[in-house]
């Protein structure tokens, strides 16, 4: 299975993912990488309820995903890997060689985060982690939907009011 996108999105599985990206990319499989969710069966069950027919969902920890860099070979079609925050994606990139691009699909308001885009709010810690990703050679962009203009990390940080 080809992984079409490594996406940071605090809502994880929702309409933008399963329809907005799912249809044009032909996504058949989603992987949530989240250490805490692996322990919470109810949480994974909830996200499975948001997954439409024809699309499957796995939940992995950073360690289990890294132990099997291509754990999804049994699936045909295209896939997307999702994390709920920047820190998890940074650890994933460090553990799994070969990730070239990370897309910020949605990081919404929380205490300590300031707006960079209507759908991207960043804290100083987020910016530091994204900077570390960029320094390691990963292209970081923000793009919520396929029709949106990708915004590079430099513009995101410049727009942020942290």
């Amino acid at each position: 299975m080809a992984i079409e996108q490594f996406r940071i999105d605090d809502r994880l599985v929702h309409g933008q993912v399963v329809i907005g990206w799912g249809q044009p990319l032909g996504l058949t499989h989603l992987v949530i990488v989240d250490d805490a969710m692996v322990e919470n069966a109810w949480e994974a069950d909830l996200y499975r309820m948001a997954t439409p027919p024809g699309m499957t969902l796995d939940v992995e920890s950073v360690a289990s995903f890294a132990a099997h860099p291509q754990p999804l070979d049994r699936h045909l079609g295209a896939g997307m890997v999702l994390t709920t925050n920047v820190d998890t994606m940074r650890r994933l990139v460090e553990a799994v060689p070969g990730i070239r691009t990370v897309t910020i699909g949605g990081l919404h308001h929380q205490p300590g985060r300031a707006p960079s885009l209507p759908y991207v709010f960043l804290s100083t810690e987020d910016i530091a982690n994204l900077g570390a990703l960029a320094a390691s050679g990963v292209a970081v962009i923000a793009q919520d939907l396929p029709g949106s203009t990708p915004v590079p990390l430099g513009d995101l940080v410049a727009a942020g009011g942290v």
Binding site: R11, V13, G15, M49, T84, H108, Q110
Partner: protein, 259 residues
């Protein structure tokens, strides 16, 4: 962590508290904003239940929970009742704040997607088509409008009321509620019924609204049958509401052209 089962635990929600929460759920979108979406509405709706936390209204637990529930939340507005019930139960059961915050986030996607399918794509167009059918069968325009408003509002009010109770009973196990046939299979059934209603109603509406000369019950019935069959065959390739809108547009164009 294992989710609580349905009807688990001794926590109670008095009728008066439920009634307040239900009334407040009707305003859940009133404070909509791009930063927290309907987070403030969720907090407002859940607040009566938070008064029952240790320390009462204004206590530390109350204030912490209210602040937590005011944060970003986005889902279908009618199905927020399920989230409000479940979140109230989680707060009452003393679920750790971190788990509650994860639960809030996890609810957004499923409740948004399920609500879109059940309400916007199925129930709303079905009610509109039933109202059109009433008009086609001879009801006055006012009665047709009242038919739509009565049917649609009965559905969404029932959904909100039931959702609050179901969410409260399920707590963190709310995935079982979202997995009910109401959300998994009913949207398709309602959509299927909608295309049948569309096939029945639109020829009748066309005949009445255009003032065309009577073409006979048999011809109207044949048109209705053909329309129903055609729409049934298109099911799965063309959404019910979209088919209804296309046909309605064609009907209006024909009405204009035919004078």
């Amino acid at each position: 962590m294992t989710a609580p089962t349905l009807d688990a635990g001794p926590a109670t929600l008095p009728f008066a508290t439920r009634a307040r929460m239900l009334l407040r759920l009707l305003t859940v979108q009133a404070s909509y904003n791009y930063e927290s979406m309907i987070g403030n509405g969720i907090a407002f709706a859940i607040e009566p239940a938070l008064r029952r936390l240790p320390g009462g209204r204004g206590g530390e637990a109350y204030r912490a929970a209210l602040a937590r529930q005011s944060r970003y939340f986005n889902a279908h507005p009618y199905l927020t009742s399920i989230a409000v019930g479940a979140l109230a139960r989680a707060e009452a059961d003393g679920v750790p704040p971190e788990q509650i915050e994860r639960f809030r986030t996890a609810c957004c996607g499923p409740l948004g997607a399920s609500g879109d399918r059940l309400v916007w794509v199925s129930w709303l167009p079905c009610c509109a088509l039933v109202a059109l059918a009433a008009f086609g069968l001879g009801a006055s325009p006012a009665i047709a409008v009242l038919t739509f408003l009565g049917l649609y509002n009965a559905g969404h009010l029932a959904l909100r009321f039931w959702g609050l109770i179901a969410g409260w009973r399920a707590g963190l196990g709310v995935a079982a509620v979202i997995g009910l046939p109401l959300f998994r299979t009913w949207p398709d059934r309602i959509a299927l019924a909608s295309v049948g209603v569309a096939g029945f109603a639109l020829p009748l509406v066309m005949a009445r609204a255009t003032g065309a000369a009577p073409v006979g019950v048999a011809v109207i019935a044949a048109l209705a049958l053909a329309g129903g069959v055609a729409l049934h065959e298109l099911h799965g390739r063309l959404a019910g509401w979209r088919a209804a809108m296309w046909l309605l547009g064609a009907f209006m164009l024909a009405g204009v052209l035919l004078g």
